[in-house]
Amino acid sequence: MKQPTIFERSVAGRRGVTLPRLSPAEARGPLPVPPALCADAPPDLPEVSELDVVRHYTLLSQRNCCVDTHFYPLGSCTMKYNPRVCEKVAALDGFAGIHPLLPQLRGGGALTQGALEVLWRTERLLCDLTGMEAFTLQPMAGAHGELTGLLLIAAYHRAQGRPRRRVLIPDSAHGTNPASAAIAGFEVVPVATGPDGTIDLADFEARLTPDTAAVMLTCPNTLGLFERQIREVAERAHANGTLLYYDGANMNALMGRVRPGDLGFDVLHLNAHKTLSTPHGGGGPGAGPVGVKAALLPFLPVSTVEKRDDGTFALNYDRPQSIGYIAPFYGNFGVLLRAYTYLLALGGDGLREATDHAVLNANYLRVRLRACFDVPYDRLCLHEVVLSAERQARAGVRAVDIAKALIDAGFHPPTVYFPLIVREALMIEPTETESKQTLDSFIAALEAIARRAEEEPGSFAEQPASTPVSRPDETKAARDMRLKA
């Protein structure tokens, strides 16, 4: 199972390429490189043949655990399948070959009408999906969308002549919410969760001060529960002049059923990879489109895509109240194009069905698994369910052990230890595309693990056994960080 590293494959003197020899004159004379740029010693590189390299990286690529190879119920991450049609459209020459500066060049607008129309139409579709007035597609990821949204909120309050400093965030929120609010210059105020797993309205009211700029909410929240008191929260916030921010991280649970704009949200971001099936991409190019109600429209980042009276499309940079540039060009166009394709391929009914299936799958898991695991908030959930391994932990088998055992059973583990308000949390998000057969085999694996936790709690220490490295020392990695060789 263990695969040597590329350095361990190194054999002194072995080469993958043959560099041209220096001519006798070059070999005699000084190198055509300034001495200051020359290293004292050759770099420590592995000495391998081309075939060594090909085989090494091909084997490594086969070790990948991804949606294309495994059931990947990583809660809160919405590991959606990426339909191949979206990839096909994104690879079309007319889109893939376009230069990002072209629309700004003289006459370039005429050559980029198709791409500009895609952006414009994507914005319209997202407005339909969310009930917002306008969108910017520029933010490069969800958290970048949060920061953009908060900067819009700050600009809005400044324009009212009354800047505000505080942002209220429930204690069940994703960590990015307080981080984004802090980076945008706000003071973060946590709000407690009530016994039913949703926002504690009394605590919320107690913390809603005249200085509160916004409330950031994820709905359904990170427990997978719909915020039943959302209307009350919206009313209290708006009566206070406070804006409501919707973290679209869990929008996969609402598509075609509920529009955040109708619930009273003023600003939102979507995670294209979590809702619109664009690739997660290992931190690579993403998109976190931000939608706003009319009151925030003047502050949107430049540029905006506009449709002229003659039906052509153009970029507008003349927006005096704009918060300015938040990203180069017009966002990650290739990602947005995939999102647009996904929206059109599924259509309104298809998007609603995707949400229905995501919710059905999560509830199927909740009901089938509650015999062997605790379900701290056991009521109808939406697209994900949070179990607790507290029962197993009492016998010494913790959530992390269950996650490691699932790897050996052939599944990517669920999210563990989040949300923070659930002890020994196992957060499972199956998504809409998984079949009943897949869900049943996952349930069977978890049932077997729960049985083993009772009968042989000591048998988990050696797991996972099927991976090249069994259990990395996470504590040592965090305490003794060495970022340089």
């Binding site: 230890y417 996470e474 504590t475 965090a478 305490r479």
Partner: protein, 121 residues
Amino acid sequence: MMRFTEEHEWVRIEGATARIGITDHAQHALGDITYVELPKVGRTVRRGEALAVVESVKAASDVYAPLGGRVAAVNARLAESPETVNAAAEGDGWLCTLEGFDPTEAEALMSAEQYAAFCRA
């Protein structure tokens, strides 16, 4: 006298100084602590204000000031050895001391028995 908060901090009054840390229950729930961010000496805090941050392999958590006061000293050894909090949360793993606090604020906090009952609930 040791007192406890619902946010799992402890405070021990030592004359004019109040020593503060997180409880053994808290360190156990957090798991291996990897980093502790301590307040600046001389900083004035209100009761309930975020005072320090404790980072573990699982999460980063704020530590709230159980009392209002001025930070008199911090436990410098935690920079090198954050695991001290795991080993002795209610002893050598203290976070900081406060002075200029109001002793009646401390009396309003939970006793050891009350805190133990709170954790069981």
